[in-house]
Every structure is written in C-alpha cells, then in structure tokens.
Symmetry: C5
Subunit: 355 residues, 5 copies
Amino acid sequence: MGMRVLSTRRKKAGTAPGTPVHVGRRKYDATRITVFEYDAAVCEERELASPRDCAALDRARAITWINVEGVHDVSTVSTICEAFGVHSLVQEDIVNTDQRPKVEEYDGYLFGVLKMARRPEHQEEIEIEQVSLLLLDGLVISFQERGGDIFEPVRNRLRTGKGSVRRRGPDYLAYCLMDAIVDHYYILLEQIEERIGPLEQQAIADPQPEIARSIQSLKRELLQLRRSLWPMREMVYRLSREEVPLIGEGSRVFLRDLYDHVIHIIEILETFQELVSSTMDIYLSSISNRMNNIMKVLTIIATIFIPLTFVAGVYGMNFVYMPELEWRWAYPATLGVMAGIAGVMLRFFRRKGWV
Amino acid sequence: MGMRVLSTRRKKAGTAPGTPVHVGRRKYDATRITVFEYDAAVCEERELASPRDCAALDRARAITWINVEGVHDVSTVSTICEAFGVHSLVQEDIVNTDQRPKVEEYDGYLFGVLKMARRPEHQEEIEIEQVSLLLLDGLVISFQERGGDIFEPVRNRLRTGKGSVRRRGPDYLAYCLMDAIVDHYYILLEQIEERIGPLEQQAIADPQPEIARSIQSLKRELLQLRRSLWPMREMVYRLSREEVPLIGEGSRVFLRDLYDHVIHIIEILETFQELVSSTMDIYLSSISNRMNNIMKVLTIIATIFIPLTFVAGVYGMNFVYMPELEWRWAYPATLGVMAGIAGVMLRFFRRKGWV
Amino acid sequence: MGMRVLSTRRKKAGTAPGTPVHVGRRKYDATRITVFEYDAAVCEERELASPRDCAALDRARAITWINVEGVHDVSTVSTICEAFGVHSLVQEDIVNTDQRPKVEEYDGYLFGVLKMARRPEHQEEIEIEQVSLLLLDGLVISFQERGGDIFEPVRNRLRTGKGSVRRRGPDYLAYCLMDAIVDHYYILLEQIEERIGPLEQQAIADPQPEIARSIQSLKRELLQLRRSLWPMREMVYRLSREEVPLIGEGSRVFLRDLYDHVIHIIEILETFQELVSSTMDIYLSSISNRMNNIMKVLTIIATIFIPLTFVAGVYGMNFVYMPELEWRWAYPATLGVMAGIAGVMLRFFRRKGWV
Amino acid sequence: MGMRVLSTRRKKAGTAPGTPVHVGRRKYDATRITVFEYDAAVCEERELASPRDCAALDRARAITWINVEGVHDVSTVSTICEAFGVHSLVQEDIVNTDQRPKVEEYDGYLFGVLKMARRPEHQEEIEIEQVSLLLLDGLVISFQERGGDIFEPVRNRLRTGKGSVRRRGPDYLAYCLMDAIVDHYYILLEQIEERIGPLEQQAIADPQPEIARSIQSLKRELLQLRRSLWPMREMVYRLSREEVPLIGEGSRVFLRDLYDHVIHIIEILETFQELVSSTMDIYLSSISNRMNNIMKVLTIIATIFIPLTFVAGVYGMNFVYMPELEWRWAYPATLGVMAGIAGVMLRFFRRKGWV
Amino acid sequence: MGMRVLSTRRKKAGTAPGTPVHVGRRKYDATRITVFEYDAAVCEERELASPRDCAALDRARAITWINVEGVHDVSTVSTICEAFGVHSLVQEDIVNTDQRPKVEEYDGYLFGVLKMARRPEHQEEIEIEQVSLLLLDGLVISFQERGGDIFEPVRNRLRTGKGSVRRRGPDYLAYCLMDAIVDHYYILLEQIEERIGPLEQQAIADPQPEIARSIQSLKRELLQLRRSLWPMREMVYRLSREEVPLIGEGSRVFLRDLYDHVIHIIEILETFQELVSSTMDIYLSSISNRMNNIMKVLTIIATIFIPLTFVAGVYGMNFVYMPELEWRWAYPATLGVMAGIAGVMLRFFRRKGWV
C-alpha cells in the first residue's frame, strides 16, 4: 500500500525551465554507456569510459546505438546530448524522470519518453521507470534510469544477426526497444491475473479484512500501469499514422502492430479494473452473508431458550399458593410443554429456511 | 470463475517481431486444409494433404476458398502464406491467437482478425477463438484455431448454390464467413439471458452466496464478449464505409448490415451488463432485508420474554420478608400482569408494523 | 420482470443473407393492407384484398400511402416490395422485427426502421414493435407488426384535410408517421413518472422487498426504451441535416423539430434512470435505518432488564448464609436499587438520543 | 419530492404539427404586452391593449422590444407572430412550454428558446419557465410564461440609458435578456450550496431518514437545472462562434463571455452533484457507525451479565446435595467470582477498543 | 468541510455587462504595483506609487512587466487597463475573481485567466486565487488577488539574469509566470498524497467517523483543484498549438511542455480521486467487519450461556415431585452436562471459524 503516485517533487520551485535537474529517487550507482555500431554485415559492441567519448565516435557503421544506464548524473546526460545538438528542454525531460510519455519532433531528431514497468525480485511493488529515446539520423540513443535485462533480447538479436534488425534502419531499432518495453507489461498482467483469481475465491470463502487491503493495492497498481500506458497509446499512434520524418514506411507497419499491443494491454487493464472492483462487491456481500449467518445462529438459540427459561422462571417463583407445584405430574408435564415450545420454534425456523 | 482474461503469455520475450511463433493453448490435433473452388455454375470441394499443395492450385474457377483448421503448426501457416506472398507480420498474427480484432490493408490483399465465441458442449465457460481471414484477388483464406461447424452453413450454400454466394465475388464470401461468426454471438446472448432471469428471481427470493459467484462469472463473460466485439465493430465499420480495395460496392451494403448486427449485439451486451450489476444490488438488498427479518424475530421474542423473565426472577428471590408471596391471588395476578406486559409489547410491535 | 431483452433468436443459423425469414413472436393474425391515395383536393381510402393488387395500383393521385399491418406473412411483404423494386436485404429487415432503428438510402428510395413502444391495456409490460417505412417517389409504404390506433390521427388528418398534410409531399407524410411514433413515447414517460414518485415515497416510508423488484423492472423498461430511441436519434439527425434525396427542404424543418423531441425524450429517460437508481439508494438506506430502529428497541429492553434479572438471580440463590435475605427492608430496597439501575440506563439512552 | 420532470403531456396526440396548442400548466392570468422603443437618445415605454396593435407599431425608433408575459393565450401569440411573418412551427414552440432550449435560424429572423429557473417566495421547489426570444431586424420579441422582475434591470438600463444598451443594436438587447436569465442561476446555486453544507454536517452528526429525502430532492433539482442548462450551452456556443446573421461581431464578444458563464454554472452543478452523492455515502456510513455503537452497547451489557446470571442460576438450583450452599463464605466468594468475570470481560472490551 | 465552491455571488443582478465590479472576498489591504523593465543587458525594478503612473512609463527597455497585487480596487485596474487600451469586458473579468480559466485574443493583445491554488500557513483549506495575464507588444501585465512569493523565483531570474528569460521576449515571460503557477500545484499534490496514505491505513485499522469527514473534505479539495485545472488545460493547449499572434514559435515549445505538466497534474488528480473513493469503500467494509466481530462475540457468549442458564432454571423450579433433586450426584452431573453443552457449542463455533 506504500507505492507512491507522485514519484517525487517535480523540480525545485523557481528553477529556470530548460535547466536539467535530476528529479527522481537515486536508483542506480554508476552510469554505464554502451555502444553498438552495426550494419547488415558487422556488429561491434563496446563500452564508453566517459560521456565525452560520444562526440568522438566515428560512426563508421550504418547505425549506432548508444545506451545510457543511469540518468542521475546530470552532467553525463548533458554531455551526451550536447554532442548531438539536443535541445535543453529535452535534456531536462531525460533527467527529470517524472515525465508523461510523449513523443516530440525536433529539427533533425525525434524524442520519445516511455514508461517501463517491472516488479523487482523479492519486492511486492511495481516500479515504474522512465526510458527516453532519441532517434537521429543513423543514431539511436536510449536512456534508462538503471540497467536491466529488458533490452538484452534486442542486443542478442543484434549480436547474432537473427531477425531483420541488422538489415533495417535506426527507426526499426527504436521500434524494437519500444516493443521490448511494451512486451514487458504482459508479464505484469499475468502476475496480476494470478492474484485476482485467488482473491475472488477468498472474498467468497473467507472474507478477511486483508482482502480489502489487497484489493486497494491491486487498484493502485492498475491505476499506475494505466497511467503509464495511456499516453503511450497516443504516442505510438502518432508515430504509426502521421508522416513523422525519420520513421520509414516499412517501420510504420510494425508500429501499427505495436499500437495494437498497447491497446490490447489497456483493454486487459480495464477488464482487470472491473474485475477487481467487482471483487470488492463480492467481498462486501460475503461479509453481509456472514453477518446473516451469525445472526441466524444467535436468533435460533435465543428465541428457543428465552421462552423456556421464562417457563422455568415461573415455576421457580416462591409464591405460597401455586397449586401446580404440588401436582404429581407437573414436572414432566412442564418439561413436555417446554419440548413442545422448542418444537414449534424449530418448525417455524425450518419454514423460514434458517435451519 | 476460472476463465482467464489473458489467454496466454503473448510471446517469448526477445523474439524478433515478424517471427511466427504459435501462442495459444494447443487446441486441436491435426491441421486440416479444405479447398472450395467455385463459380456460378460449378463448386468443387476437396481436402489438401499438405500445405505445399496450395502453391500448386490451378485456381481454374473464379473463386477459391482455402480453409485451414488448426494454426498451432507454424510451418503450415508459413507455407500457405508464402505461397501467396503474405507479409511475415501477418503470419505472426495468424499463429499468435491472442490478437485484437482488426483489419489491415496490404499491397494486393486484405487481412482481418476476428474473434469467434462459443460455449462447447458440457462446458460452462465460453471459449474465444481467433479466426483470421485473408482476402486476395479471387481467393479467400480462412484460418481457424480448430474445426467446428460454424462455417458449415456457408459450405452448404456453396454446395447447393442456394442464395447468391456462388454468383458473387470473394468479398461476398468473406462477408458470409464474418456474418456466420457474428451470428453465433446471438446464441450466446440467448444463453446468457436465460441465466440472468432466474438469477434475478433467486436474488430476491433466496439470496445465497452462490449468487455473487454467478454474477461475477456472468460479468466476466460479458466483459470477455464485449472485449471481442468492440474492435470488430470498428473493423466492420471501416470495411463498410471506406474505399477499401477488393471490397466491391455490392458487398458494402451487406457489410453495413453486418455492422448494424455488431452494434446491436454490443448494445444488448451493455444492457446485460447493467442488468447483471443491478442484480447484484438486488442481491445485496435482499440480504439486508433478510437480516432485518431475522432481527425482527429475535427482537420480538427477546423483548417480550426478557421483562417477563425478570418478573419471574423477582418472585424467585428468597427474601424472608416478601409479603406478596403469601397473598392468596398473587400467583394468578402475577401471571395476569405478565400477560398484560406481553400484550402491550405485541401492540407496540404491531404499531411498528413488525408483526 | 419477465420482459425479454432479445425479442427472439435473430434468424436460423446459415440462412443466406437477404432471404426474408420472419423473426419475431407471431403477434397478429391476418395481414391487412390499406391504401390512401390523395392530393390537395381528394383523398381516397380503400383496403386491398391481396398484396398482388399493389402492382396494379394506378396511383392516379399525387401521393399514395400503403400501410401493411402484420409482417409475419413473408410472402406478403415480398410481393409488395418486389412490386416496387425493393432490395432483398430491405425485405429481410422488414420481416425480421429485431432490427436496430436505422435509415438507409437506396437507389430511388429511402428505407427506415423505427421502434414503437406501447403498453397494451391490462398489461404491465411495454411492447416494442418495429415499424418500417419506405419512401419512394410519390409513395410511402409503412409496415407495422400489428394494427393499432397509432396512425389513426394521421389518417384523420388525411380524411378531413386538416393541417397541411394533404398539401405537402410524401416526405411530409413520412415525417407525420415518425412524429406519431415519437409522440407515443411521451405517454409512456408519463406512466413511468407516475410510478417513480410513489416508489420513492414507499422506499422511505415502508421499505419492502417488492420495491427492489419494481425498481429492477423500471430499470429494464428504461433501458429498453433508451435502446429503442438512441439509434432513432441518429437516424432523425441524418434525415434532418444531410442532403438526403427525397426529403425536401420544407420537411427538413419539421425533422429538426422531431430531432429535438427525440433528444428531449432521451434526456428525460436519463433523468429517470438517475432517479430510479437513487431510489434504490434510498431504499437501501431505509432498510438500514429500519434495522437501526429494531436494534435500538432490542438494545434498550435487553440492557435494562438483563442487569435487573441478574440482581433477581442473585437473591434467588439458595446459599444458607446470605444475611441480606433476612433483613427487614431488603426486598423493597432491592426493588429500589433495580428501579435505580433502570433509571440510569434510561438516562444513558436519552443522552444517546435513542429514546 | 413532488417536482415533476415532465411538465405536462406534450400535446394532444394527433394534432397536426405546426398547430399552436398551449401545453403547460396555466401559470398566469392575463397576458400583458409591453413595448420599448428606443435609440441612443430616447426610450419610450408603453403597454399594448391588444396583440393586434403590434401590426400597427410604427417602429419610429431604431430598436423595438416587445415583451409578452403569458403564453397560455394561443391567439395572442399567433397574432403577434403573424404580424411579423413568423413560421407556424415557431408559434407552436412558443406556446408549448415544454421545449428544449435551442436556437434556430429562419429567413430574416432568429428564434431562441431558453429556460429560466427560479424559486418563488415561500415555495420549496424550483420552477422552470420557458422564455422564447425572437430577433428580427431592429426588433426583439420576448415571450415569458408569466411576468417577473427578471428583466427589470434591463428595463432600468434602457430607461436610464446606463451602460451601452441604448447605443447598441437589437442583438445586444437579446444578449442582455439572455444574460439576465443565466445570471439568475447563480442565485439558485447559492441557495443550493447553503443547503448542502448543513446536510453534510447532519449526515455525520445525526443521520435521520429525512436526510435521504433531502438528498433525493437536491439531486432532482440539480438534474433539473442541468437539463435546462446543458442545451443552452450548445445554443450560446453556436451564437458566439458561428457566422449567424443578425448577430454582429461586437455582440459576439459578449456572447462568448456568456458562454463562459454557462460553462461555469454547469461545472458548479457537476461539483454539487458529486458532493450530494458523496453526502449520501457519508449518510450511509453514519448509519452503519451508529448501528455499530448500538451493537457495542448491547454486546457489552449482554456479555457481561449473561455469564453472571448463569452463575446465579446455578446456585438457585434446588438440588438437595449441593455442598457449596452450606459453606460459610460461599455467598461472598460467589459475588467475588462474579466481579472477577465482569472484570475480565471489561478488560477484553477495552483491549478491543469498545469501551 | 467549510470550503465553498462558489466563491461569492457573481455580480449584482442588473449590472450592465462590461462594468467592472469587484466580486470576491476582500483578500488584501493595499494595492501594490511593481514594474520590471529589462532587456538582455539591464533589469530595472521599481514600485509605482499610483496606477496613473502606468500611462507615463517610457518603456525604454525591450520588455516591461507590470505586476499588480490586489484587484479589489476597481479604479486601479481600470486606470491601468485603459492606459493600454484594454476592453471593458477584460477589466470586468480581472476584477471579478470568479472567472473560469480561459484565454482570449483581442486586437493587439492576449488576455488569460489562470487559477492559482495554495494552502496558506496554519490553514487547512486550499485557497484558489485568480491570476490574470495581459500580453501586449513588449509588455506583460499580471494581476494577482493578493501578493505572495509565487512569482519570486521568476523575479530572481530576472534580477540575476540566470536562465534565458532576459534574452527572450514577453511571451517567454508570460510562459514563466504560468509555469510558476502550474508548478505550485505539485506542492499541493504532495500534501494531498501525504494525507491519503494514513487515511487508508486508518480506514482499515480504526474506522472512526472522522474518516468519512476527511474523505469528504479531500474529495472537495480534489474537485476544486480539478475544476481549476481542467480549463487551464484547454487554454494552454490553444496557446501551444494554434497560431496565436504574440506567441513566438520558440515559446511554443515551452508551452507544449507546460501543457504536458497540466495533463500530468490532472491525471494525478484523477488517480487521487479514485484512491479517495476506494478509501471510502475500505472504510465501509471495515465498519462492516467490525460489526461482524462484535456480533460474533455477542453470539458466542449468548449462545453458550443461554442454554446453560435454562438448565439451571429448570432445576431452580419449585415442583414438589422432581426426583432428580434428591439424587446424590445430580448436582455434579448437571454441571457436567452444562460443561458438555458448552463444549459442543465451542466446537461448533470453531468449525464455523468464529473462535
């Protein structure tokens, strides 16, 4: 229940717009810059020691991909961005990891912000990380908040030359990275589905207060995911339909496919939201049912014995003139009357369907 | 309650886009390929032994329809698709049966994905299957996850030449197949309507916890159906209104009719959703009412007898100096007083409308 | 609660599209065909013995109106339609009375489907009937599921020449028929309003389970009406705004007025929906209140007498050494203490506001 | 709770469209026609004895404003309208006071319908009245259902020449009348806000059933106002944006301002709707809380005394061989045990937080 | 709970439109006018003694910024506005602080209304203040309801020349002011998030009636903020996309960024609204759970002891012929039977999961 909606205070009040200030919980220790230079024939991979080396890249191959892990070091981001003439507002957006997903066209390059969701091992809460992509002529730069294996399959395809990624342009590489991010949501969806089922079961069978808590935390998670995905939908749509420079016709087909995936995930999220909220209803109705059953037991016991106890009380009175007390069969007769009352009551309850 | 929203993990992370990988629960054993070749005069029907035979079809008749049952065999789908130059992304979409319904125009052919819903015999849950349609020049290829009798009426019309299907083009055949799929939803709607009525009755007459469970499973089913139909609406709309090549003006009239049917089904689904969710309200109010009645019984019995028992208790006290005890008519008088108290109470309850 | 949402199975699976098959509960016995032929000066009215006579109409007057009551006889409809060259899909739509309201332009004629709602005498449920209109050059054909007095006022205006209907074209006649259908909804709205008021009253004053049932049936009715009207809104809008052939500029003013009426009715329906659903809330809160009151009574009686009974019980114990028992004023003192306890309790309840 | 949504049966079934028939509760006795003729220099005001005098107006001044109070006299409205060549459908709309707000362009004049809301003195319910405006060349005609002081400020500005109304055209006068109507909603909003606050307070402090009733009647009122305002929003929008003849560019600025006011009021209404509906939630939770407290009291008293009474009962048994009865300290010891039981119970309740 | 939705009666009925009348609670004592005149090189700052000095400004520097704190003095606003030829409707909008955020283009200047939200120190409620901006050629005029430090960071950037504000045009200055206002919402969002978390915790752990009150007041606050932001979204959108004169292409990039921030805040507000309303659900379910537990305790105690007390009552009867009373082991046997009954009951409760 502790997942925060606001990741942090956006920026210090009064900072001039366009000044890159890192905003976000410090998530990674060192910044790591890896470079892939490839064409259909060759793929070279290396790690840069310093962001200043970016400016010195010879870019001998057709396509260069620079991946930066860790954006908390503002100067690193600035150095890289300035090496390729990227606007200061873009630098600010990369460093400030509380952006809304979007795509922006600048002169000579495209800038995109995406949200990656993952649930770290041994952790209950989802983490939303920002991935920024820059698509320039023959160059893709990606910024992650911290490293991870999310792009590893893409790297493997580059290394082995499987698929068509090495034969296609940088727009296709950018698509592959976005596809890897979107695909990762499916894994979270499955984890969530695996939690909803048992919750429903438990809401009916054993309505404990923890269920309300679990439902609330699921709701939060779904809201969080939906808030990350909703603007990505718009973003991918724009890339796939409009005449955006740097995105070729061939890649647009793939982006349309990606758009379908985003829509698909959003629809599943909405289905989950409806299921979760109707689980709450089920939970509430289960509590009511339970109360009903408790009340039934109490009522049956009480209404059977209260009259009987009254009868016993009557014959426990100490009046001097109570002729029944001395009758020979009064005691068994009284017991018989009591049994009769109990019987009538039970029949009444059976007719009501309570027993 | 066990119907899953996600049919399965979409694809293995890191597969290159455009690589056909079968995703879906294996639903059918063998792949079966049937071919209809027909024109207004003649209709030939046969079964292909191997997908490679597709390339060798002479297509002597005006229109050829290839129907493939079972898409789990990736190579079969690839072989057929490649025989007609179909894009690898399309092949992936056919094989991956977790697609969103859509229609896509490619150079020289149209590709459509639909969702067919059916409830297999002796099974409680609805199954959603994917049907992919390819409309080429003079050729329709349909891919089903597994065989079934859903296209049987179309086949019969082809065999007997009833209706105008043999006199019209492949676009009309594609329409007939889509119409068969959409029509099937009406049967499910009827089954659902037959479940809602008794549920309402029972929610009022006998509010048991199973009702909550049934409501939840109905909700799930309606969400599932709606999620299948909603994108089909958009898809049929596009086909019926826009200038899509390969769809003739004559077929567009029928597609508009189909569009009306899809809208009609969606509206009925929405009505059902409202009815189901107000059945939940009724169920909850019935539980409350029931509790009310239980409480009334308890309250009536308890409030009548508790004072009487108190009176009996008083005269059961063992004080030495209790003058009433020795009075001659004390006992009947006490009984009379008790009857009086009970009478007053009963009148009070009657005035409250509880008895 | 028995009103069905689906009027019936739409059509037998596998029927070729465009084959007219009557779908609908058989509602009327005989088919009746009446013809009005009129111009500004004269109005002739007669009944046709057979649908074949339609082809033989000389249409001497400017405008001819053919009204068909009963569409269960498929051949009748086909005969009439074919006399004027109407498309087979249209014939199917006329006969299949489970259509969604719509308007369709065909070459040389306009086809419209409307839904008429009425509550037959001595019946609780609303009946939705389909009325199909064909507007040709100088000719209006209307198909009703069964006869009724809904078009009677239009007929009277034709007979007497009141209003401008005889001086205007067939488009104005079609408008008059649609206006008669829409106007009829107001009567149902009034009946519904007359049911909502008392329901609210009763939900507060006397929350019985029947109220939930009445609310549910009102909801169903409102959903039903809304589902009939919503597409009619779109349909009338199209007729009133677009350049539809056969609809003159003069009639468009009236159609805009009709459009306002449809919108007005829909808004009232939505208001009713909100009122009905908040009546449910009131009902639920009344039940809770009632339970509260029952609990109060029980609690007051029980908490006053339980301690008193305990005191009586104590002095009913048979210990040999209980000095109080022999005190002279013990009995009245005990009664006094009991009265005191009761008094304290009552003051407590008064402070809580329960008495 | 008696405010009706439908003001009355719209018109008698079968009346020819365009026949003015007064529909509405008869609200005013006599019809009163006042005329203002003014230009920048002079303003003459007088009352017409008969509607026929309208045709005889010489309209010597630049602008004429005819205000008609009372539209129940159909012939009055017809006479005035026909004097200026107004369409019969417009006449019908003026007389039938159950119109939806709208604006319609006719040849040479504009026709607008507005809804005025006011709460008459000493009355609990809001009354919605229809005001119809006709804007012709140099002439404004306004029809009110009954007189009132709502246009008095406009009249005063005309009389005194304050503001620019005398220097501007008839479109500005029409704007002023509409502005006066819209402004009046603010007063109702304030009255409603003054009712919501205390209701919230009371829902928490003292949840009585009257609250549900008040909430329901507030909901009705808000629905009513919203239904009046929503189409006025559209209407004012059209006037302020589109190139409507008779509305000058100068007046359009003011209409845009008026549009902002209408939107503002609608937003406040929506906020109120949300507040009212969450007041219902608060009310329901207060009832639950209250029940909780009642149950607590009952449970505490019952669970403390029931075991004690049982102990007393045990030693009230009349067995011959009950050794404890003869023990010297049995009685005080029993009392001590009872006190102990009560103490344990109380500690238990304290731990639960009930005491 | 006392925050008002309507800040005050909008204007006195009957005031001519375009007459500036201050509407709003008097919030500030004196009006203060500060002027910044700057270009890339120099920045001069001074305070004007009287609004009449505005007309006398020589505007020697490229850009002039006049900031007015306090708009309750109508004549001040009028004097300033008229010095620069601003329309009387604009003057009215500045003075009347109950405007909806909007932007309006006039000949030669742009006029914008924004809402600033802040929570004053030691105050629980949010205050919404109106800030009006006028953007003329080389001149920005801002009107605040009362002073505050919200523009202080912008002033500091002007004074020190940090950032690019001194090198850019007046449109950029206007953007900076708007950005400062929007940024301030983040602080409120954080405060609200810090209140939601504990509320959820408390709703589960300790459902007290105050929670309903806190939830209601949070809802009110969120509605208030949303109502302020929603029209600002539209306003910023228009400025950033359309070809608005006076806004240069360079500033449009920044406005697009601002637009993203506004959308971001709105999305967070909506997430908060959903969380708050599901906190209400949790609270209600906690109350139900609590009631359940109370009932369980009562039921367990009552159903165990009521039968036992009955048995004791039976042997407390004074019949002469009750053979058991004289049996030697009757008393311990009875106690044993009682223990047995209690044991059976407890097992029953354990099986039900109540103990």
